[in-house]
């Protein structure tokens, strides 16, 4: 039991430290007292409240969403290679976003939010299409069917994106930049936009934590143990897709977080979803905040796409944990 407490304390501590670093460090150093000291430097306060804090929070929410969705999908699909993008939802979101840029669409009512709105619509349509198609192919909605359907839709939508990239001229930079992912210059509205999805999606997944544990042994076994398999599957798929779609809509397709954070968490703390889901959520937030911090500071004043950093840092860290874990297991076995 104490092991679990250590896990949560560690995760929360790391998250707090990363938020603090994310807020404090940058081209302008900002003392943290600005947060509560009304008399502090007004420019600093502006930078903190209007730029840094929403950016850090957005990075955290996106990281958390992708990580918890990844953990749930890996468990549901019983596939260690699954990530939030496996089912094609992210491709749908990307098509929506790239289309907005490519055709320079701007809808008057939503204005500045045309892109995330279209992206979200793309995600929802894709989710419905993937699940609907998988259902037609195989009424019991087997995992293999879902994965294959996801692959089919991803590649189809991917080709649409490639087509638009090929035909684009000046927008190319913008498109590529969006695809690589970024949380910069988004501000509070984006944070507000993603928050309801994060809350609802995470709660949906959290209700299925025990079912996910049982589903690890296969659908048949889960049925034997009394799981309403079909209902659980839909809740997990819809919850996870919602988190993924929202994350992609506000930040682009940031890779690696959704694949690696659940793995690292599982390796260190075990694969019990009752703890894996919340711990992945926390660790995902931490990882993306740190990655964003590095992305914007490492070659200041220029910024790197955050997706580059996640893999650049994530891969070596992942390798190290993988190595340590296999080694210690080897000794025990």
């Amino acid at each position: 039991m104490s092991k679990k407490i250590v896990a949560y304390v560690t995760a929360i501590t790391l998250l707090i430290i990363s938020i603090w670093c994310g807020v404090a460090i940058g081209s302008v150093h900002i003392p943290l007292e600005v947060l509560w000291n009304k008399a502090a430097d007004e420019t600093a306060a502006n930078i903190l409240w209007k730029i840094r804090l929403p950016r850090v929070l957005l990075a955290g929410l996106v990281g958390a969403s992708l990580a918890i969705a990844g953990a749930a999908f890996q468990g549901l699909l019983k596939n260690p290679l699954a990530d939030p993008y496996t089912l094609g939802v992210s491709s749908g979101a990307s098509v929506g976003a790239v289309m907005t840029i490519f055709f320079s669409i701007s809808i008057p009512v939503v204005g500045h939010f045309t892109l995330p709105t279209f992206s979200m619509i793309g995600a929802i349509l894709t989710m419905v299409a993937v699940m609907g198609f998988a259902r037609i192919v195989d009424r019991s909605l087997k995992m293999e069917t879902l994965i294959l359907t996801g692959v089919i839709f991803s590649s189809f939508l991917g080709s649409l994106i490639s087509l638009m990239i090929a035909l684009s001229g000046e927008e190319l930079r913008q498109v590529i930049g969006w695809l690589l992912g970024s949380v910069s210059m988004r501000g509070w509205p984006y944070v507000q936009m993603i928050i309801p999805f994060v809350i609802i999606g995470s709660i949906m997944l959290w209700t299925q934590r025990r079912e996910l544990n049982v589903l690890l042994y296969g659908e048949e076994r889960a049925k034997h143990l009394g799981v309403h398999v079909k209902r659980s599957k839909y809740i997990i798929l819809v919850g996870g897709s919602m988190l993924t779609g929202a994350a992609v809509a506000v930040s682009g397709t940031i890779g690696f977080v959704g694949l690696v954070v659940p793995h690292m968490t599982r390796m260190v703390w075990g694969s019990d979803h009752r703890h894996l889901l919340p711990l992945s959520f926390l660790n995902g937030a931490t990882l993306l905040i740190i990655c964003d911090l590095i992305a914007r500071t490492i070659i200041m004043p220029r910024e790197l796409p955050i997706g580059v950093i996640t893999a650049f840092i994530g891969a070596p860290v992942f390798s190290y944990i993988f190595y340590k874990q296999r080694r210690s297991k080897g000794v025990r076995a």
Binding site: Q74, L225, A333
Partner: protein
Amino acid sequence: MIVVEHLSGGYEDVPIVQDISFSVEKGKILGILGPNGSGKSTLLKVISGILPATAGTILVDGKSSSSYNARALAKKMAVLPQLHANAFSNSVREAVSLGRYPHQTGFFSSWTDRDEQAVQHAMMQTGVKRYEQTPMEFLSGGEQQRVFVAQALAQTAEILLLDEPTNHLDIAHQRQILDMVRKEAIESGLTVIMVLHDMNLASLYCDELLLMEEGRMRALGAPHEVLIASQIEDVYQARVATYAHPEIPKPQITMMPASVEQQQRAVITKENFTVTDRYIKLQSEFPLKTVSSAVHNPGIGWYDCLLNRSVPIDYVINDVKREVAEFLLKEHFSSTSTVVMLTAVPTNLVAINEYKASFGSVLVAVTAGVGNAVDVSRTHERQDKPHIGTINTWVIVNGCLSEEAFFQAMMTATEAKTKALQSENIRDELSGTIATGTATDSLLIAATQKGEEMLYGGPITDVGKIIGKGVFETTVQAIKNYLHSADTPAK
């Protein structure tokens, strides 16, 4: 208790199992048998609700199983399927704890004392408690199987369905799992339905058996009513024979391999006998099916060496088993393929004869020391202890005898021996009447089991006639050898 009535079901539109009806009382074990593809596992899946039932009813505790929701059914019925790969690591304890899933409800439901007790009990029963914290992938197949049994037990359901629970397990682990299942059935009233491949295990552990053939019921009943050789041969298309379990009253089945071309020339002749001053030996190149009352390796068996060993008159009979075993070891005989009789008669007094017959031939070898001859109808008047057997009779048949024929041959040979004593006027010293044998005579019937099977061995059958004549003549000859031997007759 579970009642299945006219159940049909299977994959999509094709019913694999059809019209199955049975019921299992609380605390009883039903075994489902049948060849590969006969629908055993499918039946289990239809009962557990994994596959749809197209007709018929399943009553669990008097209510139709379809009236339960998944969680409620899981509280009533636990299933152990053929398992299982898992992509991610679990500890043994975590795996067993999942059996409590149906008992946990609500958003924040906590782990109760009852949950903990059920998990502890299940781990104790299956003996997996000591690797509680070990990750599943470090366990052997047998250990993993026990963890999954524990998981099913932790469900604390009244009905347990098992699909080949002993798959891939050695006999020690098979016994352990099945003993445990039976213990739960008897002590906790668990109702068990299990699919088994091994008919002998099924016979030993199940109260009732259901034999499936092509998706339908072929037989249902107690093991002795289902495991009938002809029925099993018909369903499995394989030659089998039944025999009794040595300790418990359940039938066992053994396979009969397809017979290979026999060496018809391999026969036993007088050349196979060796007589030394310590024993008379028959060495065969192939095992003989032997029925005997010998000292070493008595009963029914297959042996290729027969010994009639001459021992001194003061031989200590108390420790005969151990002494014979040491003798065999010292003389380089194989303990497991040698039959040994003892006699106090010198080996040179043996009579050995060979008789031609329509089916082949019969050899008879007799050593007869009649100094202690008794009349069996008067022995109840005597108090003395038995001596070493003094008339040892061997009958070796170059032919194939049925089980009946073996026992009839023993009777025929015994009657012929008695007739020989009468003919030689050997008398019981105490009663003065004609003797029928000695206190510890021994008889051995061996057959090469080649050629056409002879069903009977009574006195007027082909083989009986030769045995009667042969044993009579040879015993007379052996008695004469004994009586005429110059020295003081040994007893």
